[in-house]
Subunit: 579 residues, 2 copies
Amino acid sequence: MVEIFSQYENSLTLKLLLLSLFVFVTSVPSVEARIRRYRWEVKYEYRSPDCYKKLVITINGRAPGPTILAQQGDTIVVELNNSLLTENVAIHWHGIRQIGTPWFDGTEGVTQCPILPGDTFTYKFVVDRPGTYLYHAHYGMQRQAGLYGSIRVALPDGEAEPFSYDYDRSIILNDWYHQSTSEQAVGLSSKPFVWVEEPQSLLIQGRGKFDCTSSPSIGDGLCNASSPDCSPYAMTVVPGKPYRLRIGRLPALAALRLEIEGHNMSVVEADGHNVEPFVVKNLFIYSGETYSVLIKADQNPSRNYWMSSKVVSRNSTTPNGLAIFNYYPNHPRRNPPTVPPAGPLSNDLAPRVAQSNAIKSHQGYALPPPLKPDRVIVLLNTQNEINGYKRWSLNNVSLKFPHTPYVIALGEKLLHSFDQTPPPDSYDVANYDIYSIANNTNAIASNSIYRLQFNTIVDIILQNANTMTADNSVTHPWHLHGHDFWVLGYGTGKFDVNSDPKKYNLVNPIMKNTVPLHPYGWTALRIRADNPGVWAFHCHIEYHFYMGMGVVFEEGIERLGRLPSSVMGCGATKAFHRP
Amino acid sequence: MVEIFSQYENSLTLKLLLLSLFVFVTSVPSVEARIRRYRWEVKYEYRSPDCYKKLVITINGRAPGPTILAQQGDTIVVELNNSLLTENVAIHWHGIRQIGTPWFDGTEGVTQCPILPGDTFTYKFVVDRPGTYLYHAHYGMQRQAGLYGSIRVALPDGEAEPFSYDYDRSIILNDWYHQSTSEQAVGLSSKPFVWVEEPQSLLIQGRGKFDCTSSPSIGDGLCNASSPDCSPYAMTVVPGKPYRLRIGRLPALAALRLEIEGHNMSVVEADGHNVEPFVVKNLFIYSGETYSVLIKADQNPSRNYWMSSKVVSRNSTTPNGLAIFNYYPNHPRRNPPTVPPAGPLSNDLAPRVAQSNAIKSHQGYALPPPLKPDRVIVLLNTQNEINGYKRWSLNNVSLKFPHTPYVIALGEKLLHSFDQTPPPDSYDVANYDIYSIANNTNAIASNSIYRLQFNTIVDIILQNANTMTADNSVTHPWHLHGHDFWVLGYGTGKFDVNSDPKKYNLVNPIMKNTVPLHPYGWTALRIRADNPGVWAFHCHIEYHFYMGMGVVFEEGIERLGRLPSSVMGCGATKAFHRP
């Protein structure tokens, strides 16, 4: 599939010329500047992204926020002014490894203190790899309030990807709730537990469509089907041209599949790494993942086509998200003449596992993993009840951030500020039945962390299990900060530490920062602990993470220089010491 | 009126005995303890105070929060744990002068940095005067989210008030909106301006009644007329007994009148000062004021009576707030057989001004004011537009807090952190027409403050004027922190600095901390600048204050000792200095 695009010369000069002439095009990074400065004002504004009016966190008036365009090796400087009234904020640069700058990872509780209302905080970091990345709030559940956007890092001048295209496009897929994040959080941390239920709509590039005639919104004056905020996103393409479509995924809850009616997609990039291309009709994509796919506008040019996103892995009541794949010069608002494609059944796991297995590193770009680990950490994913509150745990430990963020606590040697006893490297493998309802009455909430010996090789085995509901196990997209990991393999059932490693792909495993853990299955990852800092590793479902579904890794903290004082100011570093 | 109660012996021993036997009674302070400790957890919870379910900020699960009961001279220690998810908080002890502890006044931006989520902050202060006070959030507009309560300070053992009663009761009157404070704030700071409109209901001691069948709430599933949260508050009284009713007022917007059907009220205390008793049928009360009234349960004991609060000074659409004045042993849920009293017309200013003028210091308790001021500050109250945003200003200056709270900036000599040029002591008195629409195109937003010479006498003249709407001037309740002021007089029209001071009451003016400024009128206050600190003086309408309606006074800051570092941690005192 990918070969059909090779006839198009990937000439940057020609591309720039074409782009500047074409009105619908998004800009590409200038090749001269090496420091890219952004001034962002973060505040609440009313928006109606799915026709339903609610408060959204905007950046410079926009939600999703502006796309960061850079070139490999550039330094990104974001001066973020918090103009929320009473809420703090922090922004994570998802997929950027923050080598040498772990304090700018933007993870409140792990790498920095929150940014107070009125404060201006400067993030400064290098984008050291080309590819498609994301940014989003990493404080409370603010990501779900709309604070997110795309990062696109181009190759250095003169270097080329192993695939070609004429135009570059980015979209972010999301789900959308009408409740505020505070309302959701109160439910999740209540006795009895109140679940957020299914999202009201799915957004494609910040636009969706809620049915204003549905109860209970009818008559409350907040839903306006003709609001310009919720006109479907239209991606305009020139007939016959090849496109690179960069897709980011940030839903709070749902796993999705994306389909562009009548068009195949050739997957070429995953989380910033070149993929041995393979063709799909439906791309399954999990919260926190990014992909690039190549698409050729090679269908009947007299009409438009549907782009459709759909919840998978849950029996969701949420209607599909729709956008328009607009063949120029058809009007971008002109609906396709067809019914949007239905796609595979939402509970059909096989094609999703097949896609996970199909993603391999592009030949010639594979960096083979070290052959053996120095340490293996097996993480049993369970739902538990702790003091009557529903939580998620790993090996019966539910993550609760300490009062002083870890990077600061360790960098400033304030070791009293969190539990120094490490959490367990495994669970009771022999006796635990992953197919039964969890009965982990001994689960605890803790802020303890895994300390990894610097530069060692660590395998992380994610082991899925039954939730607290009978015959139920759910997909978890796991995201690691500060690292790309090798994806050694996926399996079904209970991981066998003796036999399963023999099936690992040690030849061309893809490297990623986010990976699904399928129901009742396992996922095996390998990292080299060579990035000094403290890094969160967590389920990217906002609600699961809020309920404790994460762990924290430290490595090489002693190699870090002086921490910038800008990240401090809370916990043990609140207020200034007197002379 | 007050004499009828004098037959009841105000014996503390007898009272304690009676109280301990009577099931409906609230407790009175123990006389032994001198330090009163409270541990408060502040968080969001769902409540339906007027039958409509929304997020409310609770203290230890309660909204309004627990009543602080103390005795004059006690030290109050409140360990406040902020369990909000992403919002900071600060609590003001309204009416407590904070002598020697100005940093614990709880006014974010003036006296302390905000308390971060997860932080525990300890307020510690002395209640140096007996009387009825309040506490409430003083950060953003969180007060309107329900974070408030009462403080009741008893006399020392053996001392008696100049009035007597058998039982002591407290209620707080409030108004209630269904929007969140963030939603309201976004509207107020938008172009075009979006006003909050009239409150959805009035609460008496945290309970009100919204009409669940009214649009648009009908059908949204959030309104439940039979929720126990919104059963009317019932104040149970024993027939024939005399009661002291302490009334606090904290509405975001409305001035109110309170009426207890068929019962006269004898006003005996205002803002902690003994009043020369006078009898009213309707008590007018403005946001931030407290009163004690004596009531005798001397009506037909076979039925209950309405307690009714009503918006005055606005053409409000908000229905009256209702509670039940329950004659024991009638059932407290039994509605009175009558239609709730209507009270005077809401736009009838005369009785309100008459009440203001009627409040004099109790003879024998009057502390006469100094005869002459050292300085006179006249503050013209106007509505303005600044950079297209609607604001309120004093002498054309709209208050905007600096990034480092004033007490900290001055205490730590960080003078660069706010504008050192003082705001003007007056306005263009000769040429300004207070009856015309404000045309203050030169209004500015500023963080400059009034610096008062220590121990000098300062007169503050509040001058009302027309708003930006023709033929419109609105009541503003002005509240001063750190002080009680003498209320020298009220007048209509433009204050004349030569003739009007001759009409001042210098014999028995009441001292208060909150006072109304009536439409197109003036109010004259006198203070002695003898409390070292920095003190906010502002309109107590939450929305007006948010829109800049306040000034700040500094006095004797050089006399303060070392500031506790717990109040720091923001602005110029963010994070700790390295050794």
